[in-house]
Structures are given as C-alpha cells and as structure tokens.
C-alpha cells in the first residue's frame, strides 16, 4: 500500500544526504542547544541562526513547503504556550527595528521568541530526518554508544510500523462500513476494544512468524547494516563550517 512516509525524501541524493549520520545528528543537537540558550530579545540573531537549517534544507533538496507543513502539524501545543505569554506578562518594553521604535509588552516578545526558536529547531530536526535514512541514523546512533538492544528495537519498530498501520486502516474501514450512527459510549468502547484486541493478537502471530523466519535464516541477535559508515572529507568540511558558523554567531551576539 502506498504510504506517505514522513522520511520519503531520505532516499534521494544530494551533498547533505551523503554526510555521515553521526555528524548530522550531533550538529542538530548542539545547534538546538545553542538556539535555545539565546536571550529572549534577539530576533536578528535568531534570523541569522535560521540560515543554517534553511541551507541544509535547500542543499538537501527538501521542499520548503513540506518542511513548513510538518512544523505546522506539530505546533498546536507550542502555540497554546506561546499565545498564553502575552496574557501573563504585561511589562512594557521598547523594541527597535531599523528606524522604528515602539512599545510592546514583554509577553509578546516572549511569545515571538518561543515561536521563532520552535520553528528554527524544528526545521533543523526536519532537515536531519529528511536527509538521513532511518537505518543509517540507527547505525550512527549505534556507533555513538546507544545500547544495542535499543537499536535493534528501533530497527524492528520502524520496519513494522507501516505494516501494522495498514492493518489498522483495514479494521477502521471495516468499522466505517458497518457503523451507521453513534452507538453510545459502552458499545463504542466494546467495538474499539475488540478491534484493538484483534490487532494485538494478529501482531503477536506476526511476531511469531517473523521470529521463526529469522531463526530459520540464522538470526542470533546481531543487527547488520548494509552501508558502512565512513567519515569522509565532506564530513570534515561540514563540521568545520558548522563550528565556525555557530561560534561566529555566538561571539557576534555577545559582542552586540
């Protein structure tokens, strides 16, 4: 069945796709930490920090509309938090942009700061996930000393999410085809529980079959990836560029 995979762009090719996954993961983590520790009032510096993920997305040939749609999908909770700030902090502060100086409440400043940081860090994360195949990401995490059991668990989980989501779709469609009206909480719950239960039992059977198939092919608990991870000169260039970029912006923001 055709799935709109979240990481469908990970199977393309571009300079960013060819980078080592460990380098990408660590740089996204450090970048997020640096952006989060910015003071509340510096929007220009936030815009400068936004250039990083933007470049990654452009060079990695990820459509920006897709990236912003993803950001919109996960924003509700943050929107509630950000929009509650103007109600609780009404200290007036002066803001200046270009030739304009005007007065705004500190709550609005905080609101926009939260939203700005959210968008920048989310774009970085989307850049990471859309340019890295999940198997490569797991291989990189394995080299970064994540426990082997967790890596294997994540690998299996990723493999079988879409299979089971297909089954859930079938079950949901069967219910939609047989349900004509709202039946009240008890009946709805019973129906949903039997759907869940049948999905669960089928998952158990699937797991048993998978296990037997793997044992028959000699699985002994080791997960072998196909692509070897190598640290190439392109990765070195990326590391140097990102360190210079982040340090440069950090000292620039302190100097201002």
């Amino acid at each position: 069945m055709h799935h709109a995979h979240i990481d469908r762009f990970a199977y393309q090719d571009s300079p960013v796709h060819r980078l080592d996954s460990r380098v990408k993961f660590l740089s996204v983590v450090i970048f997020s930490a640096v952006v989060l520790s910015l003071p509340v009032s510096s929007f220009s510096i936030l815009a400068c920090y936004a250039v990083g993920p933007f470049s990654i997305l452009v060079l990695g040939r990820i459509p920006l509309r897709f990236a912003f749609k993803q950001v919109l999908l996960v924003s509700p909770f943050i929107l509630v938090l950000a929009l509650s700030c103007p109600f609780y902090d009404r200290n007036p502060v002066d803001t200046a942009f270009g030739p304009f100086v005007w007065e705004i409440s500190a709550g609005w400043l905080r609101c926009f700061s939260i939203l700005g940081k959210f968008i920048v860090t989310m774009l970085a994360l989307i850049g990471l996930v859309s340019t890295t195949r999940f198997a490569d990401l797991l291989g990189g995490l394995d080299k970064l000393a994540v426990p082997r059991l967790l890596i294997i668990q994540l690998g299996f989980l990723y493999r079988y999410i879409f299979v089971l989501i297909d089954r859930a779709h079938h079950i949901l469609r069967a219910r939609a085809g047989r349900k004509l009206r709202n039946l009240g909480f008890a009946t709805e719950l019973k129906t949903a529980s039997s759907m869940l239960g049948s999905l669960f039992v089928r998952s158990l059977d699937t797991a048993e079959n998978i296990n037997i198939a793997m044992q028959a092919r000699g699985f002994d608990g080791e997960w072998h990836g196909v692509r070897k991870l190598q640290f190439r000169w392109g990765d070195g260039v990326f590391v140097i560029v990102s360190i210079v970029y982040m340090l440069g912006l950090y000292f620039y923001s302190k100097g201002v």
Binding site: V58, M122, L149, Q153, L157, I161, S193, A207
Partner: protein, 335 residues
C-alpha cells in the same frame, strides 16, 4: 503530551537526557540477559502495535465530536513486563520524536522519562501491588484503571516540574499544575477504560496472558522499586526549590552582602586585576548567567543592528537558494 524544546532550559534538558540515557542503558543491560533474540521480534512488533493502536479511536461520553484513543503505555508494561515494556515505550517515543517530529530533540530525555520510564514502572508497580497474585477479574480491572490514572498523572506532574525548573513558566506554578492534573486525569480515565477493555478481550481470546509476563520472568526487585520511587521523590522535591527565595545564599551572606543589614561592609575585597578580567570575561560569554536568560534593553542603536541582522540573514538565505538552483541545473545538465 510530548514536550517541545521550548519548554525547557538547556540545563534541565541536558540533565534529563543524562538521566534518561543512564536509565535506558541500565535497563537494556539488565534486560538483555533475560531477553533472548527470540523475543526481539516480539518487542519490535509490539512497538509498532502501539503506533497502530493509537489510530483506533472511540467516541467519548458527554463530549460530542471528540474521540479518545489509547496510548498503550501501561498495557505494554503489564503484558510485556516492566523492563521490556519500558524499552518498547521508550523506542516508540524516540521514533515519534525523530520521524514524526512529535516532541523536540532536546526534550527527548524528558519525554522518555515522562511517557516511557516513569509511567511504565509506576503502572506496573501499582498493578502488581493491587492484584498481589490474586487474579480475579474485578481486582485486575481495578488495578489496571488505577495504574493508568496514576501513571499518567505522575507523568503530567513531571512535565510541570521540568517546565518550572527551567524557568519558562509565566503562568503561576499551581495554575499550570492544576490544569495539567485535570487534563491528564481525564486522559487517564479514558486510557484506563481502553486498557481494561482490551485486556478483557484478550482474556477471552488468549486466556492466561494477563497473569504473567511474556518476555522472560523478570522480577522487579523491591530494591529497584524503592530506588525508582526515591529518584521520583528527589525530582518532586526539586520542585520545591521553586519556592526558593532570591536572598543570597549562606556563603554569600557570610561575607558579601546582607540585604537586611544595609550598613554591612563586605568582608572580602579583591583588587587583583587578573581576577577582575577573568570575572568580566566569564560574565560576558557565559550563556546562562545567574541561572537565567538575560535580556538586553534595546535602544535606537540596537534597532539598526537588529535590522542589519535580519536583512543580512535574508540576503544569505536568498544567496543559498540561488546557489542550490544553479547546482541543481548543472547536475541535471550533466545527467
């Protein structure tokens, strides 16, 4: 339910990532002795089952148009046992963060603790203590309801404590706490109903599965439970540091400043210029001075600087985009 990066300060994020990583490493090491390679497929598929199960919704009573769905954390812990259950739920949270961007990367540690580790172990502990080996239907169902509600409530309290420790909250601590407790109580009730219903169905189809753990016989030792509760207590108690005052601490009070005695002369003065320069350097470049994020007071001069910054960033992005287009066209021409 999943926290985003902005709810945390960098210090709290790093601390919780360390706690979550250490906890997961410990669990993996202990569990890998018990979990043979045969059970790995089962655990992976159970994680995928949680994803698929979250799509199956049902109408909520009294609220037309809204539907609830099962989260599945406590169900997994009860069926798979605490250690394997914790690993599976943590992997679900990690995939939700990485693939579906549900929750920020720096908040991953907090999310693993709030949604995976604490509810898993706490729910299992509550379930086991209520059933105490006697598996009558009613007792099992009560245990599951209680486990779901308590586990989700504790997770919500931890979210509030972590946000408050980061100093991000503008609303009063008690307001946020009461709101989160109320919301998670309702979610816990729904989750409890769903867990009870699913396990009742499974008991008809595959009886005997509910009474024992599937993945090895991993016994949760009393010491482990006490240690877990102790850690949770420390985290809760840390929340009381929010009531801490701004007065100088004991050491500073002894020699530096006493707000209640305005005539107090500091007992220590250091005229060494190197020390003064080091202090100035540290004050200028430290990211979180005095455990808060500092605010600059903007003036007209900074208005032009910020203007320059934004315009510069925009121009750079435009250049990058142009460069991307040119590179793409050249690669197409080559191929």
């Amino acid at each position: 339910m999943h926290m985003a990066n902005e709810l945390l300060s960098v210090g709290v994020a790093c601390g919780t990532v360390a706690i979550a990583a250490g906890g997961l490493a410990l669990i993996c090491r202990r569990a890998s002795r018990v979990i043979s390679s045969e059970k790995m497929a089962l655990m992976g598929v159970m994680g995928a089952f949680v994803f698929a199960a979250q799509m199956i919704n049902f109408q909520l009573p009294g609220m037309p148009g809204t539907s609830g769905h099962m989260v599945g954390a406590v169900l997994l812990a009860i069926i798979l046992g605490p250690h394997a259950g914790a690993i599976v739920i943590s992997s679900v949270v990690i995939v939700q963060c990485l693939i579906f961007q549900d929750g920020g990367l720096l908040a991953l540690g907090c999310n693993i603790i709030n949604i995976g580790l604490v509810p898993g172990y706490l729910g299992y502990f509550v379930y086991k203590s209520v059933t105490i080996g006697r598996f009558s239907n009613f007792r099992t169902y009560v245990a599951m309801m209680l486990a779901s509600v308590i586990a989700l409530e504790v997770g919500a309290v931890l979210v509030v404590i972590q946000a408050a420790l980061s100093g991000v909250l503008l609303v009063p601590f008690s307001t946020f706490l009461v709101t989160m407790l109320g919301v998670s109580f309702m979610i816990g009730i729904v989750e409890g109903f769903a867990t009870v219903a699913v396990l009742g169905y499974i008991q008809q189809v595959r009886p005997g599965m509910v009474g024992e753990s599937l993945v090895g016989r991993v016994r949760l030792s009393r010491k482990a439970v006490l240690v877990t509760l102790g850690v949770f207590t420390i985290i809760t108690a840390g929340g009381f540091s929010l009531l801490a005052s701004n007065s100088p601490d004991a050491l500073e009070w002894s020699y530096l400043e006493r707000p209640d005695q305005p005539d107090f002369v500091p007992m220590v003065s250091n005229d060494n210029s190197t020390i003064a320069k080091a202090d100035a350097l540290q004050a200028k470049y430290s990211p979180l001075p005095d455990y808060s994020i500092r605010d600059a007071q903007p003036t007209k001069a900074t208005g032009w600087t910020s203007f320059a910054g934004v315009i510069g960033a925009g121009l750079t992005m435009a250049l990058v985009w142009l460069a991307g287009r040119i590179v793409r066209r050249r690669e197409f021409a080559k191929a």
